[in-house]
């Protein structure tokens, strides 16, 4: 082995050894200058190739090339390691306090009444009910007479009514006028509708009474509709709306437009039925009224009560909303206090 070959071998050992000790990119650059730079042994050897004899030249060439390749490979892998280390190090200093609050995006929200309404639409939509809407300012006939509440009948006392200056026109006290309106539109087909909307009653405003409130009415008219269908439909609704513990109770009552009539009670969702302030210790909460459509109302709607039968139910959406979100004062719903609305 010639002297130059020995020198190259020594150079390679020296170079790789010093490379192993390098810990930073600037040091690496210095190393590159010394072992692969213009004045490095490898490069100067390439430069004076002509000075070697014909026999030596291939041997020296092969040897210098091997050293260069080894240096380059070692350099590349060292550089990669150092760069990755540097990146990791720089990220260390970019660390955030992830517990700081985010920058708020403005979120729009539905009013809680409309949230409930959506849920009601969804549940009854699944059962094949269609929405039907009717006027909020109604005729006396639609609101009362066609619902089997003729003028001066004592059952008119059941509603505290706002009248208008036209004695035949009033602010509807319930969504029930939609019963006759929808029947007349669907006749002679079967009817399966949900009638949502605002109703108005002359009440002194307090924690549980509103002069304006939302209600929905269910109406099903067909051949062979029975009280059992009413019970089944209502039970499915309350369990989906309020959870599987929402047992229902049908208590005899009277509404002029249903016969038989029932008051619909639900097991108190606040105490699970064991009695609390909300349910006055009774374990039950009044949800609405229901019953089999009165034959006279069917007649006003155009259906022959000897052939058709139907059920109707009216449930307060305000009340449903109060129960869903455990709200203790109905007045929150129409005060539109932003601090209330933003909780939804």
């Amino acid at each position: 082995m010639s002297e130059i070959e020995l020198n190259l071998q020594t150079e390679q050992e020296k170079g790789l050894q010093s490379l192993a000790a390098i810990n930073s990119l600037p040091e690496l650059e210095v190393w590159k200058q010394s072992f692969l730079g213009k004045s490095s042994l490898v490069m100067t050897t390439f430069g004076k190739m002509g000075s070697f004899s014909k026999e030596e030249r291939p041997l020296v060439g092969k040897a210098v090339n091997a050293v260069k390749v080894a240096f380059e490979a070692a350099f590349a892998s060292k550089e990669e390691v150092l760069k990755r280390d540097a990146l990791l190090q720089s990220m260390e200093s970019e660390k955030l306090d992830v517990s700081l609050p985010g920058r708020a995006a403005r979120r729009g929200r539905l009013h809680p009444i409309n949230l409930s309404l959506r849920e009601i639409y969804r549940i009854f939509g699944d059962m094949g009910f269609q929405v039907y809407s009717s006027p909020e300012v109604e005729t006396d006939d639609m609101n009362f007479t066609y619902l089997n509440i003729p003028p001066y009948h004592p059952s008119r006392d059941m509603w505290d009514t706002f009248y208008t200056e036209d004695e035949n026109v009033l602010l509807r006290t319930h969504t029930s006028p939609g019963q006759v309106r929808s029947m007349r539109e669907y006749y002679p087909n079967p009817v399966r509708v949900i009638l949502p909307g605002a109703c108005m009653r002359y009440e002194q405003l307090d924690q549980s009474h509103e002069i304006e409130f939302m209600q929905f009415e269910l109406l099903v008219v067909d051949k062979g509709i029975t009280f059992a269908d009413l019970k089944g439909t209502i039970e499915d609704f309350t369990k989906r709306m309020f959870g599987p513990g929402a047992d229902t109770r049908f208590r005899p009552s009277h509404f002029p437009f249903t016969e038989p009539s029932a008051e619909l009670d639900m097991a108190c969702v606040f105490c699970g039925g064991s009695g609390c302030g909300v349910c006055h210790g009774t374990g039950w909460i009044e949800l609405g009224g229901c019953g089999m459509v009165h034959p006279r109302v069917l007649q006003y709607g155009g259906y022959d009560p000897e052939v058709y039968s139907g059920f109707a139910a009216g449930v307060g959406i305000d009340r449903t909303t109060l129960l869903r979100y455990h709200i203790d004062d109905i007045r929150y719903l129409r005060n539109n206090d932003i601090r209330f609305l933003e909780q939804f």
Binding site: P101, E167, N336
Partner: protein, 845 residues
């Protein structure tokens, strides 16, 4: 209706049933018990009570019946007495200040003794000296040198009534030493009487329902047997002029009575049922009315005799227009000819079925009583009550239709009581005219009828038993049950409705809980849908996606509140409103015509509660239409913006407040969401509500879709707004809806690269930006796929009345990569067209 348990028990044997059970049984037969007032009886034990309770229980050890043996003056106090009292175990001295004991001072040993309610040391009762119901416990005290630890109780102290003027004198047969709760402890059921249950506005009615629910016998009380005609005809005559209004009229008479106080048990029952005891005569009529549901009226016979100057004749008739009557409660009425009266030959005596007259009514001096039991047309009674604004126990019942048959029962019972409680003798016979006999309907029912309504087969034998318990007379022939309505109820009709009435009666007693549940089956109706509701929901969703808060406003407002949208709050007299005839307050007298007004009120109310507000509401307005009974109720979308655009954050403050263009951005977002093209915003000009330079009308073609802008500085002054611009819009959803298509077409996306360049054009100040953009798009043709304004610049260098609009233009083709030459050609066309149309010039730098 307040029904004391002790009274109900006169007619149905409820022994062994707890107050809680009875309350529940009433509720579950349809007589909802709103509250149970305990008057002495113990509150039922148990955690889950289904009734609501109030009132006082009397400890059986500490409250007993006692007798006062002797009453003496307190040595050191004028107004106090010392009573010698026997409580059944020992003789005690009890201190009391009751004025009704004064007359017995110094009378020595009393014979008979006075029976009283005695409360011992430690008894819990209401404080008689404090207003309202304040519980207190009896403790040993010394009053002016005399020790006292117990008391003789008043009604107030026992929770019977508000009465505290004296102590209770019990009836003479009260057993000394008996726990008071056993002697007269009671529970009062406050029952809600629904309009179809008029028959249950009586103790017997309630007892009948309980008897039916429990399958027990109803023991109806027996009054005097009545015989038409007889001696009474020598005393009085009767004439019914209008049988439609007065279907039946009966008269009975008692002579030589004395209007002394009724027995204590009667007074106590009246008080518990909510009526004030007066004297034996008045109490007898009230007691019988509460018992049977039939109101009665007592005349002072001597007054009638005097008026007629001989034998009086009672005439029932309509009033003559303008006739006058002074009622018992001292109101002078001028009568309308629709009003039915009881009169005599000298004129009106009483407002039939509603209220007696002052002159002819009985008084403490009356000794001869003529007793009326009549049946009246319920609609006429109702009209009379509301015309003269009189609500009486009688009109409450008559306006719910009292069955004419009840007159007999009530008259017999009342005569009996007058004789018993007020002494005197009953004149032989009664007068009874019943010109319009009520036919009680007979209905038939089959098992199939019941099943068709309830989805459940009930054995007709069981149905029959239920109906019989309710007083129906039934016959079962084969598969048909026929049921005759009892002569105490007026709510059962005939035909298909009568069947429904019977099914209700059977099912409520049978129990709704025994009816099965079933899911709906059968054919679904045609799918009509409601486009309007669906559209409303779509708009609501888009608004929420734009970060807006949904709200819900009242429909009722006042003209004054809406006039705040106008200068100096001066209402527009040409606007017609739906006016409420009986408004609940001066702030809510009409139905709103504007959602803008309610929105501004919302902004006002919330202005100081948040940094910024972004609210919307969707709801109807009410617009009367000439020649139309009902108003139009078109839906409106109201939007309100105020304050900080961005919520403040810890890192940097973007504290810009909202302006016109933020509102416009919301509206553009809405229109985009609805995929509505070609919406234009035109200056609104001199709209009274908006800032003249910062408002726009929103148009699709020539259709006005709504108005938007900043609220006029002068209108601002009508509200209490916080600092900063108030922005609002009102969109006419009824106009918008028909323009919105159910679907929309999606564009394909080119795979070739885009080329982007900027262009700045100088135009006259008054040229709207929308026009510039429209012309750029027109000149750019289909290769120009994007135009975005990114700068608006004004300076003196541009010249007076000039502005520079800088746009970023995006070019793209579907079939090739565009070259620089393509772009230059388009740009050239744009500059040329805008130069030609608007005199626009390119801005160099």
């Amino acid at each position: 209706m307040k029904a004391p348990l002790s009274w109900i028990k006169d007619y149905v044997d409820l022994d062994g049933k707890t107050v809680e059970e009875i309350g529940q049984a009433l509720t579950m037969t349809g007589l909802e018990v709103e509250e149970i007032l305990l008057v002495g009886l113990e509150k039922p034990a148990g955690q889950r009570l289904q009734n609501k309770y109030s009132g006082l229980s009397w400890d059986r050890e500490k409250f007993v019946v006692a007798e006062v043996l002797e009453v003496n003056q307190h040595p050191n106090a004028d107004k106090l007495t010392l009573c010698q009292l026997n409580d059944g175990k020992e003789i005690k001295t009890v201190l009391t200040g009751a004025p009704n004991l004064y007359p017995f001072i110094g009378k020595g040993k009393l014979e008979p003794t006075i029976k009283v309610a005695y409360a011992k040391e430690g008894a819990q009762l209401y404080d008689g000296h404090q207003p309202g119901l304040v519980l207190t416990k009896l403790k040993k005290v010394t009053i002016r040198g005399v020790e006292s630890s117990s008391m003789i109780a008043s009604e107030k102290e026992l929770g019977i009534s508000e009465e505290h003027d004296g102590v209770i004198f019990l009836d003479d047969d009260a057993p000394v030493g008996m726990p008071l709760a056993d002697y007269m402890g009671d529970a009062v059921f406050d029952v809600k009487i629904l309009p179809n249950m008029a028959r249950d506005a009586s103790i017997i009615g309630i007892a009948r329902e309980l008897a039916a629910a429990y399958g027990l016998e109803l023991k109806e009380p027996q009054g005097l047997p009545l015989k038409t005609g007889g001696a009474i005809e020598d005393y009085v005559g009767l004439e019914i002029r209008d049988p439609e209004l007065n279907t039946r009229f009966m008269l009975g008479m008692v002579k030589n009575v004395c209007a002394k106080p009724s027995p204590y048990w009667v007074r106590r029952r009246l008080v518990l049922a909510g009526m004030r005891p007066i004297d034996a005569l008045v109490d007898a009529t009230n007691y019988t009315m509460l018992e049977t549901g039939q109101p009665l009226h007592a005349f002072d016979y001597d007054v009638l005799r005097k008026r007629a100057n001989g034998k009086p004749t009672i005439i029932t008739r309509r009033a003559e227009e303008g006739e006058k009557l002074t009622t018992l409660d001292d109101h002078q009425l001028t009568l309308s000819s629709e009003t039915e009266l009881v009169t005599d030959t000298a004129g009106p005596l009483s407002l039939a079925g509603v209220m007696g007259g002052q002159e002819s009514g009985i008084s403490a001096e009356s000794t001869q009583v003529l007793l009326e039991a009549a049946a009246w047309n319920f609609i006429n009674i109702r009209k009379t009550g509301s015309r003269y604004r009189i609500n009486s126990e009688a009109s409450y019942r008559f306006s719910r239709d009292v069955h004419p048959a009840l007159t007999e029962q009530a008259l017999g019972l009342c005569l009996c009581r007058m004789r018993e409680w007020a002494g005197g003798e009953v004149v032989e016979g009664v007068i009874d005219q019943y010109p319009l006999r009520r036919e009680d309907p007979v209905n038939t029912l089959t098992e199939a009828d019941i099943e068709r309504s309830l989805g459940l087969r009930i054995d007709l034998k069981e149905a029959k038993a239920i109906l019989e318990r309710l007083g129906f007379s039934c016959q079962l022939e084969g598969e048909i049950l026929s049921a005759k309505t009892p002569a105490n109820r007026t709510d059962i009709e005939t035909g298909i409705i009568g069947k429904a009435n019977l099914i209700e009666e059977v099912s409520r007693i049978y129990g709704f809980e025994r009816i099965p549940t079933r899911r709906l089956t059968g054919e679904l109706p045609p799918q009509l849908g409601v486009k309007q509701v669906e559209f409303e929901e779509q708009v609501r969703d888009i608004m929420v996606s734009l970060g807006m808060q949904d709200t819900l406003a009242y429909r009722q407002t006042s003209i004054e509140r809406e006039a705040k949208l106008l200068p100096e709050c001066k209402a527009d007299e040409t606007l017609r409103y739906v006016k409420i005839a009986n408004p609940i307050s001066p702030e809510r007298t009409v139905m709103r015509r504007s959602t803008l007004a309610t929105m501004l009120e919302l902004l006002e109310r919330n202005g100081r509660l948040a940094e910024g507000l972004a609210l919307f509401e969707i709801g109807p307005v009410f617009l009367p239409v000439e020649g139309q009974l009902l108003p139009d109720e078109p839906k409106r979308l109201a939007i309100g913006l105020w304050g900080a655009k961005y919520l403040s954050a810890w890192s940097e403050n973007q504290n810009r407040t909202v302006d016109f263009y933020d509102l416009k951005g919301v509206l553009e977002g809405l229109m985009q969401g609805l995929h509505l093209q070609n919406v234009e915003y035109r200056p609104l000009g001199d709209h009274p509500t908006f800032h003249p330079g910062k408002a726009a009308g929103i148009y699709a073609g020539e259709t006005l879709l709504g108005v938007m802008g900043e609220i006029h500085p002068l209108i601002r002054q009508n509200y209490d707004f916080p600092e900063g611009a108030i922005l609002a819009a009102e969109i006419y959803l009824d106009q918008l809806m028909p323009l919105v298509e159910k679907g929309f077409q999606v564009r394909s996306i080119s795979t070739f690269p885009t080329m982007v360049e900027d262009i700045a054009l100088i135009v006259d100040e008054n040229v709207p930006a929308s026009q510039v953009e429209a012309l750029i798009r027109k000149a750019g043709g289909k290769l120009l796929v994007g135009v975005r304004l990114f700068d608006l610049f004004r300076s003196e260098k541009l010249g007076q009345g000039k502005k520079s609009l800088a746009y970023q233009l995006t070019y793209q083709a579907f079939d090739r990569t565009l070259s620089v030459a393509d772009a230059a050609a388009i740009r050239k066309k744009i500059v040329k067209l805008l130069g030609f149309e608007l005199g626009a010039v390119l801005r160099d730098s």
